[in-house]
């Protein structure tokens, strides 16, 4: 049957070809005059031509002409010359006249036109073709039935759907594959269009079931898809559907099988998310995996690839279960079809992210792909190799890449650079080769983004692998000698000023920097002057010579450069006078030479080198908070960093510290990450506004609001905890959702009888909460500062007077009565007293704190996943993760995770914590947490360590 069809098609094709060659001959003779009916169409002309539709004789006699005009109209739409709504409607009415003709090809074009234009026209106008379409849909011509149905579902609404439902159901089980497919696809569209239509489609399930066993492949595919759509919210139904089709083995269509594989994989992942997997003997999972594995041996590549990809993407799959899928993908790598190679390569690259060892057996095939003509495949192969390769294959790989890198587009190069950076993190010993390799490409041609990605990679490697510092700095120095991008030059100069003075031979960088002062534009000169000043400040031995250089910039034509030079010169001159540099005697032994560092109390070092204790943005926030605090502006004390309020990191900063992208990508995007300015509102401002509470002073921090009711109850209450030095102010935001009530004298009663730490010392009620409004009432708890903090739970109750009001006018009418409304318990934990504040340099801060007041603890916690454990530990302590340790590094699966946390306690002590979290056993039985807490006060350290629950 198939063969015969092919032959027929061939016969048809060859015949057309012959005739077309004939036409071709005519064409050659009149080539100059020949114009394609679709070349240079003018909308106005075509619209004019479209009037032919209104002429019944022309329509009857020349349907071919009508077809051409419709095609021309469609072509206009296709090339962006859209008709206006009025034009479309007018043409549309003309087209409806064409239903008069019985010409099949014309009818087909009419269908196509209606579908294309239906959206542009007024829906009320489109409705008029419904009856014509319905008639076509019920006639005995296959060709009309399927197509009319496909047009019809574009324009019907639920009401009309009811009228044609019977015909659609018949069409689904029609003996013609085309009609059946059309009906099923139309039903799919209807199902997605509105819930009402979906409800109707659901009623056709038995017809769809029947269609799914059709011998026609496409019908199987469409029925499968619709069945899944209908059952998508019925988990059991899906499970049945999948097992039924995977065991019965009736599906012939590769596309339908592809769908079945996807559904099976989804089912397995859902099972896993519910805590069941195939090793536990869940029958669904076991059967599913068997089906996937069997599909790896299907004769169609489509199905094989889909199954392999599904297996690779299964959650919680063991490496040994992956290997059959990897073997299949490995075979695909040498396929003659680019799409097959590409698909296999992409999947392997994803697997290599998490399981490089499993993929490493494909290394040979991957290396062969570096020369692939499809550059995307080649790039993927390289980046994958960089993940799976071993340390001693790096040199060989780099050789292969360097030939490749020169001939590909920048976007691929950037991908490669990122992989190189990751590789260097994995094998720090190879840093010299890798950084050298990247630096070579700094000197090659390339756009800003490419250069930027290299510079960012080198800089972040300096931070993470300190051994690379000296060689990298020299590479960067050479780069700025010939760098056309001001932003990169200034960034590098800043880095040189920061790191250069601390290297073994700082003097060697001076020449590079001073060259910039002579040769560059204003922005770079200013950066260079700043860098020079830092060298001078840090290395007294260089001060005299740098002074000479700096003084030359005093006559620079750029204001900024001149100012910077002037400040540095003046500061350095003072310092040189106060602490003159005494060079060590010429014959001194190497070990006798004192380190070249500024003397204690050196003003130049202090001014030019010490960083601010907080960022400018934080300083601004802190000042704003200071000014808002009651009475602070009246005190005679001068402002110092010590007297400024402690400000917590903003929600965005916290989110950034917790996000998985923090490390690498943030570094890479760092250059262009524009500061997102957002007005930070001090949540404690509402408290300061209450005169009675002014005496409490400044709020230390405020927690995020906690719901004390469900969000759909009559009265919605949420609580914000404001922590003061010796008090806690609880702010209850009460919302009234009852239309005919007004709430007066609203307070929240806190049961403090069980707490030894807190006692309720005052309440501030709120009056007149109308329908839909929310207002705040306050309860003040006094804290016994001597008792150590522990987590305390309070029962709360909302108390108020209900005033019945007329919903329309808001006037009080009728009775008032007292009412009590129980709320959920409120918890005050130690973490509420901890401000999330990052330290700029955790390692240094940790060592400065010392282990005098260190508290060590070990806990076993019931967490199945590392991520959950980390988030919870951070929550328990209420501290801020530092150095990007708030998330797991992408390829560190299985290894213990080290979490660095910092914060400031209510008493003003800085608290630091290092927590090691390790999975216990392989089967997710729990995690082991080892935590060390340091602060100035042992009781504080103890309290913090006890926060772990």
């Amino acid at each position: 049957m198939q063969g015969q069809q092919d032959q027929d098609a061939m016969g048809m094709g060859s015949m057309i070809r012959e005739v077309q060659e004939l036409a071709e001959k005519f064409k050659v003779e009149e080539d100059e005059n020949y114009v394609s009916p679709y070349a240079q169409l003018e909308k106005a002309t075509v619209l004019q031509e479209a009037r032919i539709f209104h002429d019944p004789t022309a329509v009857r006699e020349n349907p071919r002409k009508c077809c051409t005009v419709i095609a021309q109209l469609l072509h206009l739409q296709n090339t962006g010359q859209y008709m206006s709504s009025t034009e479309a409607t007018e043409v549309f009415f003309g087209v409806t006249k064409l239903f008069m003709s019985d010409d099949a090809s014309l009818r087909r074009m009419v269908y196509l036109f209606i579908k294309d234009v239906a959206e542009t026209c007024n829906p009320d106008d489109v409705i008029i073709v419904t009856s014509c379409l319905t008639k076509d849909m019920t006639c005995d011509v296959d060709l009309y039935r399927g197509n009319a149905l496909r047009v019809l579902v574009r324009i019907v609404d639920v009401a009309m759907l009811g009228a044609i439902e019977r015909y659609v159901k018949q069409a689904i089980v029609d003996s013609s594959g085309q009609v059946s497919s059309s009906a099923l696809v139309s039903a799919s569209h209807l199902f997605a269009s509105s819930p009402e239509c979906a409800a109707v489609v659901r009623r056709w399930i038995s017809e769809v079931q029947e269609a799914s066993s059709s011998p026609n492949e496409m019908v199987q595919f469409h029925a499968m898809q619709l069945l899944y759509q209908i059952k998508s919210h019925d988990k059991l139904g899906i499970s049945k559907l999948v097992s039924q089709f995977s065991t019965r083995n009736t599906l012939r269509s590769p596309l339908a099988l592809v769908l079945l594989v996807r559904y099976t994989a989804k089912l397995l992942n859902d099972e896993y998310a519910d805590g069941r997997n195939m090793n536990d003997g869940s029958p669904v999972s076991k059967q599913g995996y068997q089906f996937l594995e069997a599909s790896l041996r299907h004769k169609s590549e489509l199905v094989v690839y889909e199954a392999a990809r599904a297996i690779c993407n299964l959650d919680g799959i063991e490496p040994q279960d992956l290997s059959p899928a990897i073997s299949v993908l490995q075979l695909f790598l040498s396929s003659p079809k680019p799409a097959t190679r590409y698909a296999a390569m992409r999947t392997l690259a994803t697997v290599a992210n998490t399981q490089p060892r499993v993929v490493s057996k494909c290394n040979e095939d991957l290396e062969a792909l570096i020369g692939d003509s499809n550059r995307s495949i080649a790039t993927l192969a390289i980046t994958t190799l960089l993940k799976t390769g071993s340390e001693n294959s790096i040199d060989r790989l780099l050789k292969q890449i360097s030939a490749f890198l020169t001939e590909i587009a920048d976007e691929f190069k950037i991908t490669v650079v990122r992989s190189l950076q990751k590789l260097c993190l994995t094998y720090p010993a190879k840093h010299r080769v890798l950084v050298g390799f990247m630096s070579n490409f700094l000197r090659e041609e390339g756009g800003f983004d490419f250069k930027k990605s290299i510079v960012s990679s080198i800089i972040s490697l300096i931070r993470q692998v300190p051994e690379t510092t000296e060689s990298s700095l020299l590479h960067l120095c050479e780069f700025i000698e010939d760098c056309e991008f001001t932003r990169l030059s200034t960034e590098i100069l800043h880095l040189l000023g920061e790191l250069g003075p601390k290297t073994a031979a700082p003097a060697r960088y001076i020449r590079f920097i001073y060259n910039r002062v002579i040769l560059e534009n204003a922005a770079v000169r200013a950066a260079a002057v700043s860098a020079l000043s830092k060298f001078a400040a840090q290395c007294p031995s260089l001060r005299a010579s740098i002074m000479v250089l700096l003084k030359r910039s005093l006559i620079d034509e750029d204001d900024e450069t001149r100012d910077r030079a002037a400040i540095s010169v003046s500061i350095l001159e003072d310092a040189m006078e106060a602490y003159p540099y005494v060079p060590p005697p010429e014959d001194a032994e190497a070990e006798d030479i004192p380190p070249d560092v500024p003397a204690q109390g050196d003003t130049a070092a202090y001014i030019l080198l010490e960083s601010m204790p907080m960022t400018f943005e934080k300083l601004e926030r802190s000042m704003a908070a200071y000014m808002k605090t009651p009475m602070s502006m009246d005190t005679p004390d001068p402002i110092s960093f010590g007297s400024l309020p402690i400000v917590e990191d903003t929600a965005e900063e916290i989110a950034a510290a917790m996000s998985t992208e923090s490390g690498l990508d943030a570094e890479i995007n760092g250059l262009e990450a524009a500061p997102k300015k957002k007005e930070v509102v001090d949540p404690a401002a509402v408290v300061y506004a209450i005169p009675e509470l002014a005496s409490l002073g400044r709020a230390f921090r405020s927690s995020l609001p906690v719901m004390l009711t469900e969000s759909e109850t009559e009265y919605v209450v949420q609580c914000t905890k404001h922590i003061f030095q010796n008090h806690v102010v609880l702010q209850f935001s009460v919302q009234n959702t009852i239309e005919d009530q007004r709430l007066d004298n609203v307070t929240v009663l806190i049961d403090d009888s069980e707490s030894e730490i807190f006692s309720a010392s005052g309440e501030i009620a709120t009056e007149g909460i109308k329908y839909g409004e929310s207002k705040n009432c306050f309860t003040v708890l006094e804290r016994n500062a001597d008792a150590p903090l522990t987590s305390s739970t309070f029962t709360c109750e909302l108390r108020f007077t209900v005033v019945q009001v007329d919903p329309a006018t808001g006037e009080a009418e009728g009775d008032t009565f007292e009412e009590e409304y129980p709320l959920e318990d409120l918890q005050i934990t130690t973490s509420d007293f901890m401000a999330k504040v990052t330290v700029p340099d955790f390692r240094k801060a940790w060592e400065t704190a010392g282990n005098a007041n260190e508290v060590l603890e070990k806990f076993a916690l019931q967490f199945k996943k590392m991520e959950d454990a980390i988030t919870s530990v951070v929550d328990f302590l209420g501290m801020q993760p530092c150095d990007g340790t708030g998330s797991i590094k992408p390829n560190a699966a299985g290894k213990p995770h080290m979490l660095h946390l910092s914060g400031v306690f209510v008493s003003g002590q800085q608290v630091l914590a290092r927590a090691q979290i390790a999975m216990q056993g392989d089967n997710g039985a729990g995690v082991i947490l080892k935590i060390a807490v340091r602060s100035d006060d042992e009781t504080v350290s103890r309290m913090v360590a006890d926060c772990i629950q």
Partner: protein, 214 residues
């Protein structure tokens, strides 16, 4: 990244060798005109320009579609050889990035096959441009609102051609043209007579001749 459970195509394009759109259809929300970007045409042209930048000069065999990524979409195409007058067209399928490249390639190869059958074995730009109505019909038979209807090249070409004809009730034509096709069972009756393939072919020639002569 899990594959879509309800596979949909984002766009089907027929591009000339220098990237001009001969025919194209965008489905669903992909590059659709929204309130923020009322000018969908502009973003579509830009998208096609980017596509052309990546695929220009690359020739994909009819049975081995090539793959590139453009704007986060998987773009699969067939064709593009520079032989013949005006060069060869490319059939381009655009799908979401989590769609299997093999599935997209399968669709693309099917449509390319159908197109070359319809154009009498060639996929030259001029020939395609002259027979755009067949291309429109082909796209419609191939994909409905983003959901794939039919992928087999011969079936697609058959569907487009049979439809295009006036009638099939002549038994001779059935034997010659599409004998055994399920589609032939219910062709419209009582319309004009004529051999399907010949009628079709001659009309094409005639039309071209006339329009060329005028």
């Amino acid at each position: 990244m899990l594959p879509p459970l309800l596979p949909k195509i984002d766009a089907i394009l027929v591009l000339g060798s220098d990237g001009d759109r001969l025919a194209g259809k965008y489905y669903g929300d992909f590059l659709k005109a929204t309130d923020d970007h009322p000018n969908a045409e502009e973003s579509r042209t830009n998208f096609e320009k980017e596509v052309q930048q990546k695929i220009g000069g690359v020739i994909a065999r009819p049975d081995a579609a090539e793959v590139v990524m453009v704007q986060g979409k998987t773009v699969v195409f067939c064709g593009g050889s520079s032989q013949g007058a005006g060069g060869d067209i490319r059939v381009v399928h655009v799908g979401p990035s989590n769609e299997s490249e093999l599935v997209l390639a399968h669709l693309c190869e099917g449509m390319y096959d159908a197109l070359s059958q319809l154009m009498g074995g060639t996929t030259e730009r001029t020939m395609v441009l002259d027979n755009l109505e067949l291309v429109f019909l082909l796209i419609d038979e191939h994909c409905d609102g983003g959901i794939i209807l039919e992928t087999d090249g011969s079936k697609l070409a058959g569907a487009v051609l049979l439809r295009d004809d006036d009638g099939m009730h002549d038994p001779r034509a059935q034997a010659m043209g599409g004998g055994g096709h399920p589609q032939t069972q219910g062709m419209p009756a009582g319309v004009s007579t004529g051999d399907m393939t010949l009628g079709q072919a001659f009309r094409q020639a005639r039309d071209q001749f006339f329009s060329g002569g005028m």
